[in-house]
Subunit: 201 residues, 2 copies
Amino acid sequence: MADAPDRSSEAPDDAIMRATYRALSTHGYAGLTMKRIADEYGKSAAAIHYHYDTKDDLLEAFLDFVLDRFKDTVHEVETTDPERRLELLLDQLLVNAGDYPDLLIAMLAMRSQAPYNESLNERFQQNDVYVRYLLETVIDQGIDAGVFADADAEHVARALMTIVDGARTRAVVLDRETALSTARRAATEYVAATLGHRPER
Amino acid sequence: MADAPDRSSEAPDDAIMRATYRALSTHGYAGLTMKRIADEYGKSAAAIHYHYDTKDDLLEAFLDFVLDRFKDTVHEVETTDPERRLELLLDQLLVNAGDYPDLLIAMLAMRSQAPYNESLNERFQQNDVYVRYLLETVIDQGIDAGVFADADAEHVARALMTIVDGARTRAVVLDRETALSTARRAATEYVAATLGHRPER
């Protein structure tokens, strides 16, 4: 089945996505070519072009692939207790991110290209709206339930995403462990300050 | 004088630095070539190569050029009153950054390349150490003077830089004004929470 190019371009081929990830990790965004992706895929560039006309098409599909998986992960946080749910969301955003260092590098490279690529830009914007919506919803639920202090939920969600994006950038450029643990602690301190919520741990 | 290539490579030519900045702004890191820098410079690629052997040499000099100017800016904060000094440093890091949107874009592109380029990586690390040192020093001074609550100054400085780097990344990918104003407000809230310092405004 891996040899038969029988999938339409709407159903991105996981093997090509993984090959793109490996090529991005090895060569960086600036060194990414269809040839190198094909080498990682173990096939000819023509096999890649069968699915994706251009490198931009492939990168858009790759970003969708990554962001969809990321959405699945944050969606997995199933508890409805607002305090616990907010802690688990922050763990997903700030602790589990460290499990995929190459992905942090690849995502930062794609983010840095967003000003020159409207499709990438739209995808990052939509993802940010989605995650902020999850945060804002749990904050509003906590305020309504009386477990969080009254607060500007929209601002608190944006501020937490600022800490998250700072951690993601610093994890690439500086020491990864320190970047993520600093941000996790800062997020807890910020939540305590704005929502009056003190986590047990 | 502008025509005479009489400067050594230790004294980077401001005109080439400005041309590099324009080329980065227009074409992005991935589209940056010596030819495009030479076009912006208004001369041949040979004129650029006279000063810089390779594109990497030129980019290192460019990053030094930008980080030196950035250091000059934060160094300008002259007041010794700890509360006021911390506010002014955060203004430099989070408000004035919005004056140079193309620079935020260029710097993010270079940061995303840091994992593949040891020289860029070292420069970003050194700059982070320098700015954290400034923040930590003013925090320690405020603690010693009794105007700040006792706190882990090193952690607070790292947390503030996480907010700063989050703002820089978000300013490139999302709405710039919102990214910077959210981060400035979050920094004030974070300082109040950890240092017990409530700014007058």
